[in-house]
């Protein structure tokens, strides 16, 4: 790919930076820069090195003086390039004051100020690009507005090399240029994959219910509402919206369709997966369904675990660090380089229609071995602690508020837990977990009671944010150890269905328990079938 960078200032360092950004995506990148102060001759002379280079993309970056002194001449040069290179795509940077202004307070209060001239010139430039198909405005102004003059410019470099930009400024400028070029060459990301809980709304729908999620047109809920508004704008620009979340599909779709401030509705979605499978598997199956490569995906999720999993399992997916504070979501999305573009192609516009019809779902699983490798890399540690009097309030609280992975939904008060731990026949366990990313604290509670020759599991609950990493199996494993210690031959588990705990329904039958009547399950301790997942380090406290 041949790129010519025409400029009134020196661009050697800028060229180097641009090349290194483009090298990742294109095989042969060649960048041509005009000789200093020779751009007019090079454009006028048909036999110049500029035309001999036969550029496919031309970047036009000129200082404000050049434009302001003779705008007619500048437009003439653009017209000439247009005539001589009708196939080239031309990005024209708009004008930004690079020098500090004397008496800036006066700028808009006097006639013919520099600010006024620049504004008029930028307007003409924008119109010119809108009316000439191969031209695109490259909004340098907005970059300077976003990062500020102090960061973008460095007068020392201006004096020493006749280039106004700072090192950081050149990084920003060349990165943005590389993104525009990728779009022009058809490498724009096409799909944004979205999580739901704490991403499109605040709170966990399955726990707090439709009425209590944070999503509204005022207050904190508006942060999520505005984020959705921006996502819809992306959708209008041809980006496909996809949801991949760990929720119950039926109730979640109902929530999406009925919540008054939910802007993203079913008909905006090209595909969705609302289940408890690994998100890596879900992304592969979505890619198959949409018939797109995962390299056209951008993955937005508030949970660091999910982001790391995707980075590990599907490195071609772009996974930006998602802000922790929802008030930053909208600005984050606006500045996400993956989607920012100077152009919307016809293909972009049509893409959404193409995917309106539902497609058949196919899937290819992330192999168990590679998931295990990822889990190993997390260094998960589980600590199982016999509950003592001082930490009963936290245990009671967890029994009160956990709804999804809660097999029996028995609620206990602080006093009741205190009573339970006094009886030697009862086992009351608090489960904590941490990994290399962070300490998750208390994530589960087990209450079991020795009854004749068996151990009855009265309560088994886990916070749903840690499910699927082998922690619940580890807990079951240690429960079988306690059973042996207490000379119990079997473990009896129970599942009491509720509106919210459907995902825990098969937990016992998936883990070597035999189903009995009335929601009870039995495990034969002697058979020693339940093993601790080997990537987990287990501590007893």
């Amino acid at each position: 790919m041949n790129i010519a960078l025409l400029s009134s200032y020196t661009t050697d360092i800028l060229q180097n930076k641009l090349e290194s950004f483009l090298k990742k995506d294109f095989n042969k990148v060649k960048i041509y820069g005009n000789s200093f102060n020779q751009y007019t001759q090079e454009i006028l002379n048909k036999k110049s090195a500029f035309y001999a280079f036969s550029p496919e993309i031309i970047i036009f970056l000129f200082s404000e003086e050049t434009w302001i002194e003779n705008p007619t001449q500048m437009f003439k040069l653009l017209q000439l390039i247009k005539r001589r290179l009708p196939k080239a795509l031309i990005l024209v940077g708009n004008i930004v004051p690079t020098h500090s202004q004397l008496l800036p307070g006066l700028e808009w209060n006097k006639k013919n100020s520099l600010s006024e001239k620049i504004t008029i010139c930028n307007l003409k430039l924008a119109k010119f690009c809108q009316n000439n198909k191969q031209f695109y405005t490259f909004d340098v102004n907005n970059l300077v507005l976003l990062y500020g003059r102090i960061i973008m410019f460095d007068q020392r470099i201006q004096y020493l090399t006749k280039n106004p930009w700072s090192d950081k400024g050149m990084d920003i400028l060349s990165f943005k240029l590389s993104q525009h070029i990728k779009t022009l060459m058809g490498k724009r990301k096409k799909v944004v994959v979205l999580d739901l809980d704490n991403t499109l709304w605040g709170g966990i729908l399955g726990e707090v219910g439709l009425e209590n999620i944070l999503l509204s047109n005022d207050g904190v809920g508006k942060a999520y509402y505005d984020f959705q508004k921006n996502l819809l704008k992306l959708h209008q620009s041809g980006i496909l919206l996809v949801i991949c979340s760990k929720n119950d599909e039926v109730s979640t779709l109902r929530a999406i369709e009925t919540h008054p401030y939910m802007l993203i509705k079913k008909h905006h979605l090209a595909a969705w997966r609302m289940n408890w499978e690994s998100k890596a598997d879900n992304l592969v199956s979505i890619a198959n369904e949409l018939n797109l490569g995962t390299d056209s995906f951008v993955f937005l999720d508030d949970t660091a675990y999910e982001r790391d999993l995707i980075r590990f399992a599907l490195p071609s997916v772009e996974v930006p660090d998602f802000p922790a504070d929802p008030s930053e979501y909208s600005e984050f999305l606006s500045n996400l380089p993956a989607f920012d573009t100077g152009v919307i192609t016809e293909e972009d516009k049509k893409r959404n229609e193409m995917y309106q019809q539902e497609k058949e779902r196919s899937s290819k699983k992330l192999s168990a071995a590679s998931l295990e490798k990822f889990l190993k890399s997390l260094h998960i540690e589980v600590t199982i602690q016999k509950v003592k009097a001082f930490n009963t309030p936290r245990i009671a609280q967890l029994t009160q508020k956990t709804n999804q992975f809660n097999l029996t939904n028995r609620r206990y008060t602080d006093e009741q837990i205190n009573e339970l731990i006094k009886d030697k026949k009862n086992i009351v366990l608090g489960i904590s977990s941490k990994d290399k990313v962070g300490d998750m604290g208390l994530v589960g509670v087990i209450i079991a009671k020795k009854n004749n020759n068996s151990l009855f599991v009265d309560t088994f609950l886990m916070s749903c944010r840690v499910l699927g990493r082998g922690i619940e199996e580890t807990v079951l494993f240690s429960l079988s150890k306690y059973a042996t210690q207490l000379a119990a031959f079997s473990i009896i588990g129970e599942f009491i269905p509720s509106k919210k705990n459907n995902l825990a329904k098969s937990f016992y039958s998936n883990n070597y328990f035999t189903q009995l009547e009335d929601g009870f399950f039995k495990y034969d301790v002697k058979k020693k079938k339940i093993k601790k997942p080997q990537w987990i380090t287990l501590h007893y406290d």
């Binding site: 050697d12 360092i13 180097n16 007068q155 020392r156 470099i157 004096y159 020493l160 090399t161 090192d167």
Partner: protein, 82 residues
């Protein structure tokens, strides 16, 4: 940072900027000894050192920093007073 590390860091930045062997850069090296260390290369080098050491040189000093020794002396004035 002790003197040896500062030396090492500067040498390594020079070597990567101008794509030369680290062993060929000594405290006595001056810009004329390195092919790519021309006036433009000099600015590239200065920008890299500034970002690596998180500092900023005075414009008056920049043109004088054309040897390993000069760069190290200047850096010591900035961040690492001996």
């Amino acid at each position: 940072m002790i003197k040896k590390d500062l030396n090492k860091a500067v040498k390594s930045i020079i070597a990567t900027t101008f794509k030369v062997n680290k062993r060929d850069i000594t405290p006595q090296t001056i810009s004329d000894d390195v092919e790519e260390w021309d006036s433009l290369g000099h600015i590239r080098l200065i920008l890299k050192i500034e970002s690596e050491f998180n500092t900023k040189f005075n414009i008056v000093d920049i043109p004088k920093l054309t040897s390993v020794a000069a760069i190290i002396t200047e850096l010591k004035k900035h961040e690492y007073p001996s």
